[in-house]
Symmetry: C2
Subunit: 176 residues, 2 copies
């Protein structure tokens, strides 16, 4: 791995690095991809005089899509990023039904739907088509997908610096 | 107009009707379009025992995109919906820079970027390509775009029942 990993909160690292990467792609005009805001149900807002509106009561809502979508080379992209601390397999429980159903719907419409999966301990990152993942999940009798199976059905990517997770070449390889 | 208009809050009607329309399109598998959640900066969350997390301090953040995007016939769609109570022209101040810049970026990537504009008083609705709108704005010496100019450069749509605002045929006409 080309980069030190002694961060405090490693749990957020994949998402942070993907956010940096899509920002890099937007600046370079390579692709226009955004992370969706966290859905929040707003119940009460105060409007103090001479000060900005303050939300004083709100609740997290269940998302109905994945976290990321956008456009690249004219194609619609949609993906979810997930990481696990498991060493040999990726637990299916990390994936919500609404995320997998949404990816299937995007794929049915002709979009590029995929997952970016990271094994935190080994720093291995895989990009896998949503269709392929769903098929493997369907066929599996386990509660998780073996890393060796993921590796055989995906494109492996290495961390770099700019962007930290350069996943578009993997998209090229998988879809074009 | 085929539908009664005596609602309390007409200001929200266009957005509500578009939300119903994209939900109809999703159910029919015609297109997968979602409204993005309102971006909120969360400052404080309480986690009461035996009860769901409650956000007790948060602020509205400026969005960096439009409200709607998705996929239709394999194409990336991105749009913003706006309404005005002005009778003869649509004020440019209703459009934020971040929205117009985002639409231009989507269009540059080969996506279908457009606006749905409603004149509330006459219930007229127009679908206009973002490129065309931006060009007309650029060329204009006024603070608003005349309705007659919009009508000459867009596709006019009528309200119906299911879906209330059937805008995809206008997208076909404008982009395909
Ligand atoms: Mg996620
Ligand atoms: Mg809006």
């Amino acid at each position: 791995s080309p980069r030190p990993t002694n961060r405090g909160n490693r749990g957020m690292r994949l998402e942070d690095d993907i956010n940096d990467s899509i920002s890099y792609y937007r600046n370079r005009k390579t692709a226009v991809i955004h992370k969706k805001p966290t859905p929040v149900q707003i119940v009460n807002v105060d409007y103090p005089a001479r000060s900005r509106a303050k939300i004083t009561e709100a609740y997290f809502r269940q998302a109905s899509t994945t976290d990321y979508n956008g456009i690249y080379r004219g194609y619609h992209l949609d993906f979810e990023a997930k990481e696990t601390r498991q060493k040999q397999s990726f637990p299916f429980k990390n994936f919500h039904d609404h995320q997998l159903n949404h990816l299937a719907a995007i794929s049915d419409q002709g979009g590029c739907a995929f997952l970016i999966l990271q094994f935190v301990e080994s720093e291995e990152i895989f990009v896998i088509k949503a269709d392929v993942f769903l098929q493997l999940k369907e066929e599996s009798t386990r509660k998780s997908l073996q890393k060796s199976v993921i590796a055989a059905h995906s494109v492996s990517i290495k961390r770099t610096y700019t962007p930290p997770i350069d996943f578009l070449p993997a998209v090229d390889q998988l879809f074009f």
